[in-house]
Every structure is written in structure tokens, then in C-alpha cells.
């Protein structure tokens, strides 16, 4: 496969359902695809010590993060027979209930997209330097940590 420069995965604020819908529609011309699989990460209104999270404010080491997203993309294409893959992650404030991560994989056949999607999402959680400030309703905050 041809080597590509890292793309910018980040979008400012929440990822809208309109954007997600349009991404799906754009694939109607790619008729070798028989199966799509989509992961949407949504901000949870967790309650911690009686206070509810209202938003997560995302920051990142953007250059390194885009490089890591690129490496994950390359590793996924090497491992699975995918037609295409798209990753978008939010920066800045994303309110509880809104989407902060959108991963979209497509293949001629269904089985591969189930495995590939999990591989991509787990790699993003483990390897990409993105940081999340969980903001409570009283404007105090704590720092999110992936488990």
C-alpha cells in the first residue's frame, strides 16, 4: 500500500449526527463494500461523589496523536482486509450525550469489520495521547483516565 502522510483526525467540538450520516452516504459509490461497522464514543454523565459530569474537555499532543492514529491505521490495514477506514476525534468541550469519537470501517465482508473495529478502538484508547478533563455541573473538574 502507498505510504501516506498522517491525516488530521481531530475536529473541534462534538461530532454531529449529520456529519456521521453524510460519511455513510459518501460510501454509496464504493460498491465493492458489503459491510460497514461504526463505533461512536459518547460522553457519559457519570455521577461521582454526588456530582454529575456535564462535559469532557479534550486536549491532545496533536502531532504525536495524529502520528499514532496513522500507525493504528497502517497496522489495521495490514491485519484486516478493509476497503476503507475513517477516524474522527473531538477536541475541546463535548457535552454529555454528544459524540466524541467516530470510527468507521468498511469491507466486502462482515466478519472482518467486527474484528477490525474493536482492534482500532482499543488501540486508540491505549496508544493515543488524548487527555480529557471531566467537568462537573459546579464547574469543578477531574481528569479522565482510560481503563
Amino acid at each position: 500500500m502507498e505510504k501516506k502522510k498522517p491525516k488530521n483526525v481531530f475536529v473541534q467540538g462534538a461530532i454531529s449526527s449529520k456529519f456521521i450520516g453524510e460519511s455513510i452516504a459518501k460510501h454509496q459509490t464504493k460498491t465493492s463494500i458489503g459491510a460497514h461497522n461504526i463505533f461512536l464514543g459518547q460522553v457519559r454523565a457519570d455521577e461521582i461523589d454526588g456530582k454529575v459530569i456535564t462535559a469532557i474537555d479534550y486536549t491532545a499532543y496533536e502531532e504525536m496523536a495524529n502520528q499514532k492514529f496513522h500507525e493504528i491505521r497502517e497496522a489495521t490495514f495490514a491485519k484486516y482486509n478493509l476497503t476503507c477506514m475513517h477516524i474522527y476525534h473531538s477536541l475541546g468541550a463535548v457535552t454529555a450525550g454528544e459524540i466524541c469519537l467516530f470510527v468507521f470501517v468498511s469491507s466486502p465482508r462482515r466478519k472482518v469489520v467486527f474484528e477490525a473495529l474493536e482492534f482500532v478502538v482499543e488501540a486508540i484508547k491505549a496508544d493515543v495521547p488524548v487527555f480529557g478533563k471531566e467537568v462537573f455541573e459546579d464547574e469543578t473538574h477531574q481528569w479522565k483516565q482510560n481503563t
Binding site: G41, H89, V121, W143, Q145, N146
Partner: protein, 78 residues
């Protein structure tokens, strides 16, 4: 040599610094962290990884060039 040190997330908050320049001799990552922890005592109880020019390194790594050093708190993507 001059290093660029970048702090992210809770570490930027603890140091009240996002980025700074630091003049230093050739040193290990461990030596550099000792210096930074002296400068910013709040770093002592923080969990973080170190990246040199966007690659994670361990504490034995020798810094012998003008590089970008990033202090990265636990990842929270997704």
C-alpha cells in the same frame, strides 16, 4: 543544548505551564525529571509517560540533542 518541554492535561495544570525552553547538558530522562520535579513539586505524585520527539522513551534514555520532550498524563481518548 536547549530542550522544549511540553506539559499536557493535568500536568499542564500542575505546572501552570504548557510549554517552556530549558537549557541543559546531556542527561538521562531520569535526570531531567528530577530537575523538573524540583522545579514543580506538584509533579511528584503524578503518573505520566515521557515522549522524546513524539516517541515514548524510558527513564534511561539519554538526551543528547535539542529535542522536544513531552510529559504525558494517562491517556483518555474516546
Amino acid at each position: 543544548m536547549q530542550l522544549t518541554i511540553k506539559y499536557f492535561g493535568m500536568l499542564a495544570e500542575a505546572t501552570s505551564t504548557a510549554e517552556e525552553r530549558l537549557q541543559t547538558d546531556i542527561c538521562s530522562v531520569a535526570d531531567l525529571l528530577k530537575k523538573l520535579k524540583n522545579q514543580y513539586p506538584k509533579l511528584h505524585d503524578k503518573d505520566f509517560k515521557v515522549a522524546i520527539n513524539q516517541e515514548l522513551v524510558n527513564n534511561n534514555y539519554m538526551i543528547n540533542n535539542e529535542v522536544e520532550v513531552a510529559l504525558l498524563p494517562p491517556f483518555a481518548g474516546g
